[in-house]
């Protein structure tokens, strides 16, 4: 190749601010621009053709097989019983649409709790593997190897089986006369909710913002003057004192809805069912094993010189970890962590094996009762896509925010 046929994209004055000159397309296979366009049109065409063919074929076959289609079933009366629901549900009056919404909420209930708990447990175990305490490091290592090597479905069935061996309600283990553990789940007393509690909660939320603002002001003051105003008395007042005063001003109402054994089961109080419990424990312990490895690798990815430099500046080991090592480790940890959060959410669809009614379970029942298989599966896929994309977006935003710390 001679010098005269240099890449035209690189021709023109270097470092100039103006846009690259418009290029003409040469009708020759040796023109890379033309080649790119041809390939891309071809690939888009093949994909679109395949989708077109599949959609058309499906529609034709559905018609040939006399299968009714459409989403009209969502407004029909469901009639299917649902065990756990966060919003009101009555099989005789509620629709399939509401039933599926309950499934979505149940999926979110187990996913959100699972992500929070798995992060906490995984971080503890990941740090534990690096511990200088031999026993802690070994136990953490065994945990990781054992739990990530067994299929999660087996683990779920194990936990569900284990929870079923708990005693019957009449012989339940109990803590006082308030908390009961039986094969019907954990029964706990619930606060009988009154307006006073709402106001106290509002005061607490305001207190959180107030404390954060005070802390920021204190930090600014410290940076300017070297004197740090005390934070904790203000925090205590805003978070504890004010809400308590608000509650007292409303007459300090306090009654508990305590579970009582009546008939077959406990009535009243709050419940964590064995199905939810088995699913949550199974997902958390399984995912925590992966998160532990991510946390460990993230910490080890920070050069030892960083902790040594922190020590040389006089930071204690805990401070060094919190202020120097972890912020740098986070940049390594966050991207794979996102994948684990998505995995946990998707694995929650195994709920169907332990009788927890998540969106897949209710969606499957719906498509079975109505016969709308394609619509039902499309709905389930749309729900998971929406949840997963939300998690991805949030984690990408958080990742970008952490990356900015780099100097």
């Amino acid at each position: 190749m001679s010098a005269t046929t240099s890449d035209p994209r690189r021709s023109g004055p270097p470092l100039s601010g103006r846009a690259a000159p418009r290029r003409r397309i040469h009708l020759s296979w040796s023109d890379p621009l033309l080649r790119n366009i041809v390939w891309q049109v071809l690939i888009v065409g093949v994909v679109a053709g395949a989708v077109w063919y599949l959609a058309g074929n499906t529609a034709r076959n559905l018609a040939a097989r006399h299968i009714a289609t459409g989403f009209g079933f969502l407004s029909h009366n469901a009639g299917i019983p649902i065990g756990e629901h966060l919003i009101d549900y009555d099989p005789s009056t509620s629709t399939y649409g509401r039933a599926i919404l309950i499934g979505v909420l149940n999926t979110l209930k187990v996913s959100v709790a699972g992500i929070v708990l798995a992060t906490i447990l995984g971080t503890l175990i990941g740090v534990g593997r690096l511990s200088r305490n031999w026993l802690v490091a070994r136990i953490s290592g065994v945990y990781v190897e054992a739990l990530r090597d067994l299929p999660v479905l087996l683990q779920l069935l194990f936990w569900y089986g284990l929870l079923q061996t708990l005693p019957a309600p009449k012989q339940s283990w109990h803590l006082g006369e308030a908390v009961f553990l039986s094969n019907r789940g954990i029964k706990v007393p619930l606060l009988d909710w009154q307006p006073a509690h709402g106001w106290a909660l509002a005061a607490f939320v305001l207190g959180v913002f107030g404390t954060l603002a005070w802390r920021r002001a204190a930090a600014r003051r410290q940076a300017n003057t070297g004197i740090r105003p005390p934070v904790w008395p203000v925090a205590l007042g805003l978070l504890g004192g004010v809400p308590l005063l608000v509650w007292a001003a409303f007459g300090a109402p306090f009654t508990l809805d305590v579970p009582v054994l009546r008939g077959f089961n406990f009535q009243g109080g709050g419940t964590i069912s064995p199905e939810y419990g088995a699913l949550l424990i199974g997902l958390v312990t399984y995912t925590a094993a992966y998160i532990a490895e991510i946390v460990r690798s993230g910490i080890q990815a920070v050069p030892a010189g960083q902790s040594e430099a922190a020590a040389a500046l006089g930071l204690r080991p805990g401070e060094a970890l919190r202020l120097v090592v972890l912020p740098q480790a986070m940049r390594v940890i966050i991207p794979p962590m996102t994948s684990q959060y998505l995995n946990l959410t998707k694995n929650s669809s195994l709920a169907v094996a332990v009788g927890y009614q998540d969106v897949v379970s209710i969606g499957n029942t719906t498509l079975n009762q109505t016969g709308q298989a394609i619509e039902g599966i499309a709905l389930i896929m749309a729900v998971y896509l929406a949840i997963s994309l939300s998690i991805s977006l949030f984690m990408n935003w958080y990742n970008a925010r952490i990356a900015l710390v780099e100097r």
């Binding site: 076959n61 079923q164 089961n265 064995p274 169907v352 094996a353 897949v360």
Partner: protein, 341 residues
Amino acid sequence: MFRLTSVLGALVAGALLSGGAARADGSGSATIDAIKARGQLVCGVGGSVPGFALPDSQGVMRGLDADFCRAVAAATLGDATRVKFVPTTTTNRFTALQSGEVDLLVRTTTWTLGREANLGLLFAGVNYYDGTGFMVKKALGVKSAKELDGATICIQPGTSTELAVGDFFRVNKLKFTPILIADLPELRNAFLSGRCDAYSTDGSQLAGFRATQPNKDDLVLLPETISKEPLGMMVRKGDDKFFDLVRWTHFAELIAEEAGVTSRNIDSFADTKLPELRRLLGLEGDMGKALGVDNRFAYNVVKQVGNAGENWDRSMTALGVPRGINALWNKGGLQYAPPMR
């Protein structure tokens, strides 16, 4: 997840299959032609339901539903052994039939209007007149389903039981907590371990389940039957010839029982003068040919599998289930076949 992928797979397979239109050659039925070309009937069954379809210690599928699959194979191919049994769950059974994964679905499936109108499937007959019942442990001390207020009840999802139990509790203004597990052995474990107070499904399945339990005296069937559950065999809509064949396979079993023809004595009728029997055995008329199969289809069904009464005894009497309303019409039951002529 596994269920999702299997449903999806079935859907894609359905989309890729050629349409169900009948081809010009052969029997005039795409399904019968496909079975003959394959040399095998693919039959969707339950696979874990005692009395209906459950493999024995040799791995041979046994039960009323399994024997009906064999009867259709005998009618179509002349050989009752040429059946491939495909175990299906309550939630994937219809998709399996719709997509063409199975030719015939004989899986304790209740005949309802909704299913026939929406699914693109047809019921060809009723091989068991059943009803939803409840089973509890004797220790619970419950004598009637109306005492189950507040109880936790184990049910398979996607079944008509699910709706029947909901209706029963609604009508009687009682409350219950459902535990829905698709996998039958898992569901039964949940009941046996005490997670549920009661287990609800078709009475026949409860009886079959109870009979296979080592501690069967601790389990009690409650007296109420809360719904009508006619269990039938299903085919795809749009292949009327195959529908006819499946329906008349069932009728042939009933006609044989009514006439006293069994798998053991059928050859002694070879020189019978009775016209109805001569048509049944394929000695007279073109009954089989009209259905697109051999004229001796009914002979093959009865000879190789048995008449309706024999099939019942083999599967149900062995479990201690009385025949009740499933007897022939002239013995106080509901089973009635139109004349074969």
